[in-house]
């Protein structure tokens, strides 16, 4: 099963920091997602992109996680050489993770 089957996600950016939300479709799946999708696993998943640390914040009342990824946007939105300078496409591929 892919994460995409039980959760959805949205990416945002500030400078060279990317943040990705991960939100359970059903509240019952939140604990499972919390257990499986650790900050370490996300950092490893995005190892070519994210050069800094990944911090995970929890929002249990809306069954959501927020991954804040440092040094993740090729030096920052303005000067990055990436095609997707904002990292907007990162959320959909987080959902490609096998669970």
């Amino acid at each position: 099963m892919k994460l995409r089957d039980i959760a959805h996600s949205r990416t945002g950016d500030k400078g060279n920091i990317s943040n990705i939300s991960l939100i359970a479709y059903r509240d019952d799946d939140y604990e499972l997602i919390k257990k499986i999708v650790t900050a370490e696993r996300v950092k490893n998943w995005f190892r070519d992109t994210v050069k800094g640390e990944v911090i995970r914040y929890e929002l249990p009342k809306i069954c959501a996680l927020n991954f804040v990824m440092y040094d993740a946007l090729g030096g920052g939105v303005t000067r990055s050489l990436s095609l997707d300078t904002h990292g907007k496409c990162l959320s959909s591929v987080l959902l490609d993770m096998d669970i």
Binding site: H8, F46, T49, Y57, L59, K61, C63, A64, R79
Partner: protein
């Protein structure tokens, strides 16, 4: 309990106008907020202002105002916007002229000034840049703009003095909305719990269609009705800070618990500490509940005392980026694209082009996620029937940047077989450095135009 209805009129500088007009016409709203200022826009507008002292505001200001001013009068909707960008004073002169020409009378337009500290930026040269921990003096000669993220103060003053339209420069996005709530409900500037709730209203509205089904659809998983006609959101806010997010019934899109959840977490870092000039908002205990179709109750935000520091966004001339792209198709496409990439890399070395950083991507293969993740996603396959080579490089001058695209274009006749659709781009890069300054250093001033 008193209720205020606030509409969101734009989520970025170039956003659509029709959904804004629709909620002004039929949304029974008291205010509409147009958030139109990305981090870098003000630096670019500052350069326009240097060339022409009457310019430097949002490029769509005139076009938007011609359409919304009659509705402001007819429906009694007040407007709050940061479309003033680098030149709010010029923006309100333009709005006055448009209003006059359209036969509108009895309208007061305010500009909030004080965010522009370019003339005083020298005193902060020892401040540390947030993005790279160097001193601000390291980019001194490259600085072209310095604007403080101001809070609600000037906007509330303008509303107290009867302004119908309030135009700011750099103001924190959610403060545009918070100001209208503080004015209407008389919320105290030291009641941080309620201010945190008001910041959440602004945060939910500031990207317009992103809470009504935009940036959300994923066919088969998250389907959104009539996305082509996406409606903009309306927040109905009660005096106690409870929020109902809704939209017009006949517009496209949808408001659900899940569209709201995505926007609550959007571009925040620590949900317990969302820093704004007016309050440190706390979204960690926020709840959402769908109470009717397309009506979601959002509550539970709170806040803590503000830091007393204002963030300053400093625009500086950074570098140039040159890019070139060319496509290869059919069997062996990826092999030919890779050969093309190697040729360009070798050419740049051969002509000894001073490149600060070089990136070679294959669009359709690895341009979004890098090699490790892309090879997992592609199941290690090497046969792609359509691949686009993209070469990008950062340089210190424009001429060198242009060479990147020229070398890619030269692949037409000098590269592998069947290369097509070459494109080249060069841009000068204005980057942003952030510092923090004491809020007492910043004096807000409000000026007015009337017809």
């Amino acid at each position: 309990m008193k209720k205020i209805r606030i509409g969101s009129g734009a989520g970025f500088a170039g956003d659509r106008i029709e959904p804004a007009l629709e909620i002004m016409e039929n949304g029974n709203i008291d205010y509409i907020v147009f958030e139109c200022l990305a981090e870098r826009t003000i630096a670019i507008n500052q350069q326009q202002k240097l060339l022409d002292g009457d310019k430097g505001y949002n490029e769509f200001l005139e076009c938007r105002m011609r359409k919304i001013l009659p509705l402001c009068v007819e429906k009694g909707v007040k407007v709050i916007t940061n479309m003033g960008s680098a030149n709010p004073a010029a923006a309100i002169r333009v709005i006055k002229e448009i209003a006059w020409d359209m036969g509108i009378r009895g309208m007061k337009v305010a500009a909030v000034l004080g965010d522009d500290i370019l003339d005083r930026v020298d005193k902060y040269m020892n401040c540390e840049i947030l993005e790279n921990s160097k001193k601000l003096s390291s980019i001194k000669s490259q600085i072209i703009s310095a604007n403080v993220y101001t809070g609600v103060e000037g906007i509330i003053e303008a509303l107290n003095n009867g302004a119908h339209i309030v135009v700011t420069g750099r103001t924190a996005d959610p403060s545009l909305t918070l100001a209208s709530l503080m004015f209407e409900f008389g919320w105290s500037k030291s009641d941080y719990e309620i201010l945190g709730k008001g910041i959440l209203v602004g945060h939910l509205l500031e990207c317009a269609g992103q809470i009504t089904g935009g940036y959300f659809a994923d066919p088969g998983y998250k389907d959104v009705p009539k996305l082509w006609n996406l409606g903009f959101p309306i927040a109905e806010v009660t005096e106690n800070g409870d929020i109902i997010i809704t939209k017009l019934e006949n517009s496209g899109g949808m408001v659900t618990e899940h569209t709201c959840k995505e926007q609550i977490v959007y571009e925040i870092h620590d949900p317990s500490n969302y820093f704004t000039p007016d309050v440190i908002a706390d979204f960690s205990e926020v709840t959402v509940k769908e109470i009717e179709k397309n009506k979601v109750l959002v509550k539970g935000a709170s806040g803590k005392e503000k830091t007393g520091l204002f963030k300053v966004s400093i625009g500086y001339k950074d570098c140039y980026i040159g890019e070139g792209e060319i496509s290869y198709g059919g069997s062996g496409a990826y092999g030919r694209a890779r050969l093309a990439g190697k040729i360009v890399k070798k050419r740049l070395e051969y002509i000894n082009l001073p490149v600060k950083e070089l990136k070679i991507d294959f669009i359709g293969v690895n341009s979004l996620y890098g090699n490790h993740l892309s090879s997992i996603l592609n199941d290690n396959k090497a046969d792609f029937k359509e691949v686009r080579l993209r070469v990008a490089a950062r340089t210190l001058n424009r001429e060198d940047a242009e060479t990147i695209g020229n070398e890619v274009e030269a692949l037409y006749t000098n590269g592998p077989s069947g290369g097509g659709g070459a494109r080249k781009y060069t841009r000068d890069v204005v980057s942003i450095a952030s510092i923090f300054v004491p809020d007492k250093d910043i004096i807000t001033k409000v000026i007015y135009e009337e017809v």
